[in-house]
């Protein structure tokens, strides 16, 4: 099927735009960047999708052996099964729409070619990650998307907060990647191979402690990439990048890589109950905590960023409860509606010439109706209103959670209510009431609104794509008991959330502030994101920085290393200043030394027994 073409085309686009982009005309840059993603999408649609019906197992293409060292054999293999196919469609499909959208969004920005070069590079690495047939190649893609994330978060590199956010994302992800690499080492030790087929084939025979450890270490990796507790802190800051980046990388694709990796490793997890439970707990805790923070954010992108963290938590709940296909299902629907929410907020920001604060918006539905209606589609989808996409996937996860552990279900229900609340709060603040800003809002061009419309259709109807049925051959069977009462509860939670938002922000706009005044302590705590950043700063960052400065810099580098090198030089100079006296320039003193030396040699020879 020539799978390598799928990532190779965006890579070519990156190389052309990255090297020559500065000199190429803007239209050509656009054509190369968007065209390459379009070709990838076309290749997926034409070559991979038709064979999907017959594809029960995995189809692998081996290109060459990358590393051959002792027992370690790592090939560059691309594998397609149905799980991969779902991801390929999400990545290339959403990626293409966002590339098109970016044409309009980035039209007036500097570094146009640079932006598209990075985006293409991201597409390349993401597709490598998804197509990889072994853990090491997956790690290549994993690191590559991290690099692109860093580059694109810090895209406005002349702004301090953007470069800081980029650094934060990169460094926090290092912690996760450390876990991932340890998991890969352990896997090699345990199974002697990194190929998915070999590892999964032997997984059931491996001891449980090994599988649990591998599973937990992989989870550390997933926590970094997919922004789960305790490593979620980078994602909200990542909003410093351009909005299409937030939509593509930090909502739809890259952050779901952790979900992909854990779902892909299901044979390991299904024999590692402890790791599974940890995933579920981490997932629900993240979902809940992030949702509470999302309730009070005033930056429209921050609201959706915390929403992303929260929804990723849901996906992990699905994985952790053994409902792998439900987790993947939610990845897909989330990719639709969250990409749409981000692109929509990008359109709002574009309309207001850079304004991101919800307090300076309001009444925009009359000014930018297309953006409003498309975002409304996404909002009802994420709020879990039936029969839109979010309802199906979230319900599948919650039902699985109820079978596994009812308390997770109830926390999930509360989170679902909060989700509906914060999304509609953002919608009401931005689009209803009277306009509180100063710029004159203008609707975005068609190149931006058409992707919005397509995503709106997908958000509304995406729930009817039968992902769980499609993935039945991939994952172990998870029998879901369809309980209408539970379904009604989750719908009620969503509706209550929406109604509450309506009550507080439209019917009685003053009540929100009154409520905040009533619970001042709690409000301050949540508004400041539980001071997690501050705690991390005090507990991790400051000690590391100070330790580096005092111990490593002043102590080790300046003290020990510089000290020993300079000390050696000083000793040499000191000894030299004494030896210098010997070189008097007086020929007779030299002759004396020669004589002295010769006598010494003769005496030594005499003592040693003559020159025999």
């Amino acid at each position: 099927m020539l799978l390598w073409l799928i990532p190779a085309i965006p890579l070519l686009g990156f190389l052309i735009n990255g090297i020559f982009g500065r000199r190429l005309p803007k239209n050509l840059v656009t054509a190369i960047a968007v065209g390459s993603v379009f070709l990838s999408l076309g290749w997926v649609l034409m070559k991979v999708l038709p064979g999907l019906a017959e594809l029960r197992g995995a189809y692998t293409e081996h290109y060459f052996t990358w590393i051959a060292s002792g027992n370690l054999q790592v090939g560059v293999n691309f594998t397609v099964d149905r799980l991969t196919a779902v991801w390929l469609l999400i990545v290339t499909g959403i990626g293409f729409l966002i590339h098109v959208y970016s044409i309009g969004y980035m039209a007036h920005e500097g570094g146009y070619y640079r932006f598209f070069a990075y985006m293409n590079l991201f597409m390349f690495f993401m597709l490598v990650l998804v197509l990889a047939g072994n853990y090491l190649l997956m790690f290549v893609g994993w690191e590559g998307v991290g690099l692109c994330s860093y580059l694109l978060i810090g895209f406005y590199f002349d702004k301090q907060f953007a470069t800081n956010a980029g650094n934060k994302a990169f460094i926090v992800n290092r912690i996760g990647d450390f876990g991932f690499s340890l998991a890969v080492f352990l896997m090699f030790r345990q199974f002697g191979s990194l190929d998915f087929a070999t590892v999964f084939g032997q997984a059931s025979a491996a001891p449980e402690w090994a599988l649990n450890t591998i599973g937990l270490l992989l989870l550390v990796g997933a926590c970094g990439k997919s922004a789960q507790i305790p490593l979620y802190v980078w994602l909200p800051d990542a909003m410093a990048g351009p909005t299409p980046v937030s939509a593509l990388i930090h909502a739809a694709t890259m952050v779901t890589a952790g979900v992909y990796m854990t779902a892909r490793s299901w044979p390991i997890y299904s024999h590692a109950p402890m790791a599974m439970e940890t995933i579920a707990v981490v997932g629900i805790a993240t979902a809940f905590l992030a949702a509470t923070i999302g309730l009070l954010q005033n930056d429209i992108k921050k609201v959706f960023a915390y929403s992303t963290v929260s929804q990723l938590g849901y996906m992990f709940v699905g994985i952790g409860c053994g409902a792998f296909s439900a987790g993947v299902y939610h990845v897909m629907t989330h990719a639709f509606f969250k990409a749409l929410l981000f692109l929509g907020s990008g359109s709002v920001i574009h309309a207001l010439s850079g304004e991101q604060d919800l307090r300076n918006m309001g009444g925009l539905r009359r000014h930018i109706p297309v953006t409003f209606w498309t975002m409304m589609c996404a909002a009802v989808a994420i709020a879990g209103v039936p029969p839109f996409s979010g309802f199906f996937s979230k319900d599948a996860i919650l039902l699985a959670a109820h079978q596994r552990a009812p308390w997770i279900y109830w926390v999930g229900i509360v989170t679902a209510g909060m989700t509906a609340f914060y999304v509609f709060r953002a919608m009401f603040l931005a689009f209803f009431g009277s306009y509180r800003g100063h710029h004159h809002p203008h609707e975005s061009p068609a190149v931006m609104t058409v992707p919005l419309a397509i995503l709106a259709v997908l958000s509304l109807g995406g729930g009817f794509i039968p992902i769980p049925e499609l993935l039945e051959s991939v994952f172990p069977r998870f029998v879901e008991v369809h309980d209408t009462a539970l379904m009604a509860v989750s719908v009620t939670a969503g509706v209550v959330g929406i109604a509450l938002a309506y009550l507080m922000y439209i019917a009685r706009p003053a009540s929100a502030d009154a409520l905040a005044g009533r619970f001042k302590g709690l409000y301050t705590l949540v508004y400041n994101k539980y001071f997690v950043d501050e705690v991390y700063d005090a507990v991790v960052v400051k000690p590391v920085v100070n330790g580096s400065r005092v111990v490593l810099w002043k102590g080790m580098d300046a003290g020990l290393i510089d000290g020993s090198v300079n000390g050696l030089g000083n000793r040499v100079r000191g000894v030299g200043s004494i030896l210098r006296l010997i070189q008097s320039g007086n020929i007779r003193s030299y002759a004396t030394w020669v004589l002295f030396g010769s006598v010494l040699v003769i005496v030594a020879m005499g003592i040693a027994g003559g020159a025999r």
Binding site: S584, G585, N586, I587, R588, A591, T592, L595
Partner: protein, 102 residues
């Protein structure tokens, strides 16, 4: 045949060499120093020849010729240098010829 024992030659050679060393170290006149070097070389030559005679081997003779050739070359070059130095400095005191120092 065994008119003069080897040790006499060697003693003479050692005495001559020591005289050469002493002259080299203690005389200031550059020509005297030069002559002291010649004395040392010829002291060595003497011991070479003595050994060669004693051991009935020709290599000592050959080495002596080498030394004489080197001494001749050295004398030629050395005397030329001394001549030039004297022309420029009007002194033959070895301690005054120190402009390379520092």
């Amino acid at each position: 045949m065994n008119a003069v024992p080897l040790s006499w030659y060697l003693t003479l050679s050692a005495v001559l060499f020591a005289l050469g060393v002493a002259g080299f170290l203690f005389r200031r006149n550059i020509i005297t120093v030069f002559m002291s070097i010649e004395l040392m070389l010829n002291a060595v030559n003497l011991s070479f020849i003595a050994f060669s005679y004693q051991l009935k081997q020709v290599s000592g003779h050959i080495l002596a010729f080498f030394v004489m050739v080197v001494a001749a070359a050295e004398a030629a070059v050395g005397l030329a240098i001394i001549l030039t130095v004297f022309k420029n400095r009007a002194t033959l005191n070895i301690d005054d010829i120190n402009s390379m120092k520092n």
